[in-house]
């Protein structure tokens, strides 16, 4: 391994020639009992794309927020161009020349593009002047924007452009980017990389946070790896393999999934035919004649960029919302007119994207959260209108043990669990029923690698026992790991599901961009 400990001078790597712009020394940040950053040091150089790697919860976001002045460290010092500085607010960070592109966009939906950008610039910028500058900069960098458009009307890809243009207009010397490609098609990501390259040639430093290792290998000059709040190693990602980078992040080998042979096609257990529904409000997507069959024994995955109708489709399949036309069949029975409880009774189970507030009630104990989805599924949880708390407690223990859900004390409130453990719980709650049909939206979103691997294995195992598993995911790596067939959702329309073996990332990217014949033909439009 070519990694070095942070105390060694970073001798290895491509020539690190740029001047150090921002250096953090011994940063410590505590949240209650948790040490989110423990003596973290990092040096960012001009003209360099510096990757910050680590699992969810490794302390990346905390460090970034400290560098951007959004959080106040408990200890350690920051140095800007060799001078010790206090960055007390994002405004001060911007004044120094630090810009940030947020992962969950820090945009204001009800405001125009120009207004969004004005909020990040110093006072006294005239609106008319600003619109002109936005047009100029966005043209220069190939990031076309209409300053007068309302953000709510714009797709995610464009929203990221706003973030980037907003950042560029501040003429920063250092740009921090948090998971910028997670919402982009592969083609849009390539476009972004060109922009980044141009910026580094202009002498800009970029701190690039990502967990997509291939892309880090491709574009980053240097990488700092964090685990459990500490800097574990620094390296030149180009000289590493994706597997060695993953090992550094996780701290141990990431186990491969056991997929086993795909059994012969079973009977169709879930069928959607011509499923359609109009948009449910100004910020929602219409679902347009979705057709899909999922057979027993297979995992079918739906890929797509966030905001293309995944949540809306999930609601129609689960029965939280009834479709205006088309049908849903579970094991050959028509279920399109019945609600979620009847569909559960028919043998289907559902796991939504949002764990807290949708899949589980934050303020209720886990045993009560079991009643949430299983009050009418013949589990003996409700008798004569009364809730059987003993029975709920039994189930809670069983699920906790079978799926390795860890918590600080027995039967905790859902909000007290970490993301990974809560996700194991909400998936375990449904798997425990041995459902014939399982529909999961973003099964491992924001979950650490260990829990993610476990969850993916469980999904495969369930399908191999003869159930139909439908996974909606934005994570292409995950999709290729578990799916037998893949379909792509774009602006509420679903492409035909094709065998995973014949699908390529490039083709998925094209489908994501809607560059495909509506009839689902195999004609490449590129």
């Amino acid at each position: 391994m070519t990694a070095t400990t942070p105390t060694d001078p970073p001798a290895i790597g491509r020539d690190r020639q740029g001047d150090i712009l921002l250096e953090a020394r011994g940063i410590t940040k505590r949240f209650g009992d948790i040490l989110a950053n423990d003596d973290v040091s990092i040096a960012l150089r001009a003209g360099e794309i510096h990757a910050l790697l680590g699992e969810n919860g490794a302390g990346k976001s905390t460090l970034v927020k400290i560098l951007y002045g959004a959080l106040e460290p408990n200890g350690g010092t920051l140095h800007w161009q060799g001078r010790e500085v206090t960055i007390a607010s994002p405004a001060e960070a911007r004044k120094l020349g630090i810009g940030m592109v947020f992962q969950h966009f820090s945009l204001f939906e009800a405001l125009t593009v120009a207004e969004n950008i004005a909020l990040a610039l110093p006072r006294g910028t005239a609106m008319r002047e600003l619109s002109a500058r936005i047009r100029e900069v966005s043209r220069d960098y190939g990031l076309t924007l209409d300053p007068q458009a309302i953000v709510a009307d714009l797709p995610v890809g464009i929203r990221q452009r706003i973030e980037i243009v907003r950042c560029l207009l501040q003429e920063p010397q250092l740009i921090i980017m948090d998971e910028p490609t997670s919402v982009l098609t592969p083609q849009e990501a390539d476009q972004l990389f060109l922009t980044l390259e141009r910026l580094t040639l202009e002498g800009c430093a970029i701190l690039y946070i990502s967990h997509r290792l291939e892309e880090v290998k491709r574009i980053c000059h240097h990488a700092t790896v964090m685990r459990h709040g500490k800097v574990i190693s620094e390296c030149d990602p180009a000289r590493e393999t994706a597997a060695s980078l993953a090992r550094m992040m996780v701290g141990s080998a990431v186990h491969d999934l056991k997929r086993g042979p795909r059994p012969d096609a079973g009977a169709v257990r879930l069928e959607l035919r011509g499923l359609s529904a109009p948009a449910d409000g100004p910020f929602s997507v219409a679902i347009d004649t979705v057709d899909l069959q999922v057979r027993g024994g297979e995992v079918v995955a739906i890929a797509g960029i966030a905001g293309n109708g995944q949540g809306e489709l999930f609601d129609l399949v689960s029965g939280e919302r009834l479709s205006s036309s088309g049908s849903v069949q579970i094991d050959g029975q028509a279920a399109g007119r019945s609600g979620i409880t009847a569909r559960r009774r028919a043998g289907a189970a559902f796991v939504p994207e949002e764990r807290l507030g949708h899949g589980a009630v934050p303020g209720l104990r886990l045993s009560e959260n079991i009643v949430l989805t299983r009050h009418s599924t013949g589990d003996g949880l409700v008798r004569g209108g009364f809730v059987d708390t003993d029975r709920a407690g039994e189930l809670e223990k069983r699920i906790k043990n079978n799926f390795g859900v860890r918590m600080s004390h027995d039967d905790a409130e859902a909000r007290a669990l970490s993301g990974g453990n809560l996700q194991k719980f909400v998936i375990g709650r449904e798997l425990d029923r041995q459902p014939g049909v399982l529909v999961v939206n973003q099964p491992t979103w924001g979950v650490d690698a260990g829990a993610a691997a476990l969850i993916r294995q469980e999904l495969i195992d369930l399908s191999r026992q003869g159930s139909a598993v439908l996974v909606i995911s934005q994570d292409l790596d995950e999709i290729f790991e578990i799916a037998d067939r893949i379909a792509v959702i774009s602006r509420g329309h679903l492409s035909e599901a094709e065998p995973a073996e014949t699908m390529t990332r490039e083709r998925i990217g094209l489908l994501m961009g809607g560059m495909e014949d509506r009839q689902g033909g195999a004609t490449h439009a590129a």
Binding site: R344, V371, L372, V382
Partner: protein, 359 residues
């Protein structure tokens, strides 16, 4: 100095019990300051206000009489607030119940039978429900904000009452006073013991017990809490938000209506232009002080009834306006809401430099 909140991992059970107590203590301290500002001896004033009424049998009975509507309305409102339905029109539903229940004894005074009272009570409940059904319908059908509609209906109900007792329902033998005829014995709720206390108190106890069981033990109670805390999760569970709006409004309206007819039939014995010293609004405080828990509401209902009596006592004994009651009640709700923060958060006081910040 800076005041910051730190979220607890889970809700603090200790604080859930303590917060109303702390709130009460803070109210008493503020009350003492208020009395001192009014030139009274704070200790004596607080004694007159909060202890004196508990020392006589008649005033204890009066306490129960005043607590009855507060508790009946309060438990209904608690179900509304638990399910995130903001019904603040309890006063209007109380009035509507009183009006509907009074149809028999006023317009059909000759109808005296063992059925009279049960029918009156049923009509009272129905009246409260009907009044509550308006905001429920508008909320479910059009998405109209129920806070404002339920409140507007309070004013309308009060004007309706005013019109009836000055107009069509005025007692022909009442020397032109704006009052209805007195209710006959068959239309009067039986007294308990030998005084002002009436059967309404039993209704309140039954409502408390029934709702305590429903909320803590049944699927319906579970549904109420889930829809109130996380509507999206409620929909995922297969519970209907719209049906819950109907359920909460009809239940609260029915109980407020029952409180209304019980008060009129058991205590006032006729309709007058004003039949409530703001029970419907005070019940909001009762519900929150009781932490939206029926058992808690039993106690907070008694406490707020005491504040009414204390206000009257203080007026007589100390010459302080009985309006101080309302001030006490308002302060109490403020402190309860402030203290409830402690259930989910820890409070940290400290200057920005106290944490040993770098650089």
């Amino acid at each position: 100095m800076r005041l910051e909140l730190e979220k607890r991992a889970e809700h603090s059970a200790a604080m859930a019990l303590l917060s109303p107590v702390i709130a009460l203590a803070l109210t008493l301290v503020s009350g003492a300051i208020l009395f001192a500002a009014l030139g009274q001896n704070p200790a004596r004033a607080l004694y007159v206000f909060f202890i004196d009424p508990l020392t006589a049998s008649w005033s204890l009975q009066e306490l129960v009489v005043k607590a009855t509507p507060l508790i009946l309305i309060g438990v209904g409102l608690a179900v509304c607030y638990l399910s995130n339905t903001w019904n603040i029109g309890g006063e209007g539903q109380f009035t509507a119940g009183a009006l509907a229940g009074s149809i028999l004894p006023i317009l059909f005074a000759g109808f005296e039978s063992p059925l009279t009272l049960p029918l009156m009570l049923l009509m009272g409940v129905a009246g409260g429900m009907a009044w509550a059904a308006i905001p429920a319908f508008l909320k479910v059908r059009f998405g109209t904000n129920e806070i404002l509609t339920s409140l507007m209906l309070v004013y309308i109900a009060q004007l309706l009452l005013d019109w009836l007792v000055r107009g069509p329902w005025r007692d022909p033998a009442g020397f032109n006073f704006p009052e209805s005829r007195m209710f006959t014995a068959a239309a009067t709720l039986p007294a308990l013991a030998d005084g002002r206390m009436h059967v309404g108190a039993i209704f309140a106890l039954i409502a408390v017990a029934a709702l305590a069981v429903v909320l803590m033990k049944t699927r319906k109670g579970f549904e109420i809490r889930v829809l109130g805390q996380a509507p999206r999760a409620g929909r995922f569970a297969g519970f209907s938000q719209n049906r819950m709006v109907w359920f909460a409004f009809l239940l609260a309206g029915g109980l407020a209506g029952l409180a209304g007819i019980s008060e009129v039939s058991g205590s006032i014995n006729q309709l007058t232009p004003v039949i409530s010293p703001g029970y419907g609004f005070t019940a909001i405080i009762v519900a929150f002080l009781g932490r939206l828990n029926p058992i808690g509401i039993l106690f907070s209902g008694l406490l707020l009834a005491l504040s009414y009596l204390g206000g009257e006592a203080a007026q007589v004994a100390l010459g302080i306006s009985d309006k101080t009651t309302r001030v006490f009640q308002g302060m109490l709700l403020f402190y309860v809401l402030a203290c409830d923060t402690l259930i989910l958060y820890r409070i940290r006081l400290g200057g920005p430099a106290a944490t040993g910040k770098g650089a």
